[in-house]
């Protein structure tokens, strides 16, 4: 049974530990996850589909990279797994918002057409009426 201090020492001296870039690089990448979490409650119009789509592919690739690299980097793997989840969620939120926007535009376009059609009929009636009256 390793004691807590022994485990801490093992972590401190590990090849992917806090003395190496294998640790601090992934820590920097957690910034993506935190940014995604910060954006979760905001209006979907703030989500960039370009960036979010790229992040989804990027995190899949880096999960595989973290698994295959020597030494195996579980911290990086965890970081990109959570980033993948967050970015997929954001992408689905954006997609839902974007398709509802398109529906609204189509309806508005339809309303405009209906309104224009009504106006054209009115004009025709008005033109016909004076001629009738005259």
């Amino acid at each position: 049974m390793a004691s807590v201090s022994a485990k801490l020492l093992q972590f401190w001296n590990s090849p992917t530990g806090p003395k190496t870039t294998h640790f601090w690089g992934p820590v920097a990448n957690w910034g993506f996850v935190l940014a995604g979490l910060a954006d979760m409650r905001k209006d979907p119009e703030y989500i960039s589909p370009n960036m979010t789509g790229v992040m989804c592919v990027y995190s899949v690739l880096f999960m595989r990279f973290a698994w295959e690299v020597k030494p195996r980097n579980y911290l990086l793997l965890a970081c990109h797994a959570s980033n993948e989840a967050v970015q997929l969620y954001q992408l689905s939120r954006w997609y839902g918002w974007s398709s509802s926007q398109q529906q609204q535009q189509q309806q508005a376009g339809g309303n405009k057409e209906a309104a224009a059609g009504v106006k054209v009929e009115e004009v025709k009636r008005v033109e016909a009426a004076p001629s009738k009256a005259a």
């Binding site: 870039t21 601090w24 690089g25 920097a28 990448n29 910034g31 993506f32 935190l34 940014a35 995604g36 910060a38 954006d39 905001k42 119009e45 703030y46 989500i47 960039s48 370009n50 960036m51 789509g53 790229v54 992040m55 592919v57 990027y58 690739l61 880096f62 595989r64 990279f65 295959e68 690299v69």
Partner: protein
């Protein structure tokens, strides 16, 4: 003239290795390896070749078969990281009020930190440095747009 005879004669070659990554200073060894042992059945590698005396075809083959080459994730994962910078460039005309401040902060910070680290690892990874430097630049530009927009929004409210 077998590979063993060749190895015996060039036993004083600096690295003692006869694979594609050796840097044998003996030009005769290089020449012989290139022409005599390229397709040797006992040595599937290309013999004692250096980048200085490899043909384009041999270089491409070396790249294709490299342990960090295009058949591996070690190549594609860092290569795809360019996508983040390209997405930022695609968004260059996105209205500034729609930019996500936390995301651009994360991109810029990651770019800066990784640019530094790619110069501190062994070997220095210039590809990684380039990717992350570009990420920091594009992220920084989007941050600048967002922050100047936010500040412009605040001043009329402050005066009003």
């Amino acid at each position: 003239y077998t590979f063993d005879a060749f190895a015996q004669q060039h036993a004083n070659c600096s690295t003692g290795r006869y694979d594609i990554f050796c840097s044998c200073p003996c030009s005769e060894a290089n020449a012989l390896a290139r022409y005599a042992f390229r397709d040797s059945p006992t040595h599937p590698t290309l013999g004692c070749l250096t980048p200085n005396n490899m043909t384009i075809g041999q270089k491409l083959k070396a790249f294709w078969n490299h342990p960090a080459g295009p058949k591996t994730i070690h190549f594609w994962a860092p290569t795809f990281k360019w996508g983040i910078s390209l997405a930022n460039i695609a968004d260059i005309n996105r209205p500034a009020d729609k930019i996500s401040l936390p995301q651009q902060c994360a991109i810029t910070a990651t770019g800066v930190i990784w640019s530094r680290y790619s110069t501190q690892i062994t070997p220095v990874n210039y590809n990684l440095l380039a990717v992350n430097a570009f990420m920091a630049l594009t992220g920084g530009y989007q941050l600048f747009r967002k922050i100047s927009y936010d500040m412009a929004q605040q001043t009329p409210a402050a005066t009003a």
